[in-house]
Subunit: 225 residues, 2 copies
DNA sequence: ATTATTTTGTGATATGCATCACATTGTCTA
DNA sequence: TAGACAATGTGATGCATATCACAAAATAAT
């Protein structure tokens, strides 16, 4: 169950900068788990002192808004999860749930903190990550609140293609209800827009299988209405 | 013009943890400026290699969304500005503008990075800040997209009272058009809601002077519609 | 003081989308 | 192979709020 972190092939840019002694510390202080699609990785409202490393698979970050659940973003491996909520608060302020089968490593916060203290380059990379995430948050929020549904749907489809699956053909990892939470709309509207895109020949939809036919059109819709 | 940072009375929790040598480095490598209300501190789209310390005054962080300007949040001194945009991107991804007269210190990114490298406690505090900001972003975004205008207006008024001015009587630091950008609505709606709150005796408004009369009502409106 | 310019108040109209309601299809399980 | 439950498609209706269009007031500029 205990992989040697030094030889683990799943590393972020930050992780690849760790000294051997820190990697040894990680090896001896992490809990490796295989979780199934739908399983909770981090749960909002729970007390936690762990940082999570997503070794393989896909996860969603989501939280309870004032009325409905909101999916903040999708994260694919390799990536750290829960840094903001673990460092920023004793109680988890958001949830992370597996969207595919995943492998995760739980790392104690104190161990992680020590590793930060001992590895300047690692710390720099982590801070860079924080910064990029915050900028991304700003942009995302502005889009969500200002764009119409078609624009946000187009964004989501492009995001899956470009950043998550790196292919214009993929299987939607979320239900339509979840997609609604991702782009702040209703389940019904997701269904309507998706069938509309299909009818217009912008995408081809077979069940949850998506093929993007006219990427340029999607980009235009993303920019305009 | 060059204050000695060691004796500067305006310090964040993080800054108070710096060693003397780092404070000396700061003293010799910062540019102190007094800016006036409305002046730009950080400008979206500009190349920048500076971190800014807001010594005194009030500022707004804002960015160009797909259609309109969005005010992300208000920041009052003492606080660092522009860490995400300076670390995360060469080009500024958002703007910061003085909302009152302010004093700011520009610090070169390399100097700031060295200080991070040399001060573990400082770095911890900065990371904590990042985490809290990110959590705050998530919450803010969920509220903005899910709440109705009255709820968001109530939030803004409470935020000013509780976090910015620490008093239930204050002068609105933003025009109604800016308030609209802060809570993602139209200028007209801001005007309507504000007069409504006034008529209902929840606030008393004399020009831009605000007095919160029924704080509990505002909290209720924030929670419900 | 007198324009000029920005800021604010308020009605009328239009619209994007949530909500409700129900049919249909797909998927798991006993 | 049913029977149950979850996920999806689609119409009809209502509502919050953006937008347009001015008037009034306040602030700045000459």
């Amino acid at each position: 169950m205990q992989t040697d972190c030094k030889t683990c092939p799943f590393k972020t840019k930050a992780t690849s900068m760790l000294c051997d002694c820190s990697l040894d510390a990680l090896t001896n202080n992490h809990l490796e788990l295989k979780l199934k699609k739908g399983d909770s990785i981090i749960k909002q409202g729970m007390y936690s002192t762990n940082v999570v490393f997503l070794r393989t698979g896909l996860a969603k970050i989501h939280l309870a808004g004032p009325y409905t659940e909101q999916i903040v973003k999708m994260v694919n491996a390799p990536s750290y999860l829960g840094l903001p909520t673990t460092f920023g608060s004793k109680i988890n302020q958001y949830s992370v749930t597996a969207v595919s089968d995943v492998e995760v490593c739980f790392i104690d916060l104190e161990v992680f903190q020590t590793i930060l203290d001992d590895n300047k380059e690692f710390t720099r990379e982590i801070i860079q990550e924080f910064c990029k995430n915050e900028l991304e948050s700003f942009r995302r929020c502005a889009n969500r609140t200002q764009k119409l549904i078609r624009g946000n749907m187009a964004d989501a489809l492009l995001e899956f293609a470009n950043n998550i699956f790196k292919s214009d053909t993929y299987t939607l990892p979320l239900s339509q209800a979840e997609l609604a939470n991702l782009i702040d709309t209703s389940r019904e509207s997701v269904s309507r827009v998706l069938t509309e895109f299909d009818k217009d020949g912008i995408i081809q939809m077979t069940g949850k299988q998506i093929e993007i036919l006219k990427k340029e059109s999607l980009k235009l819709i993303s920019q305009n209405g």
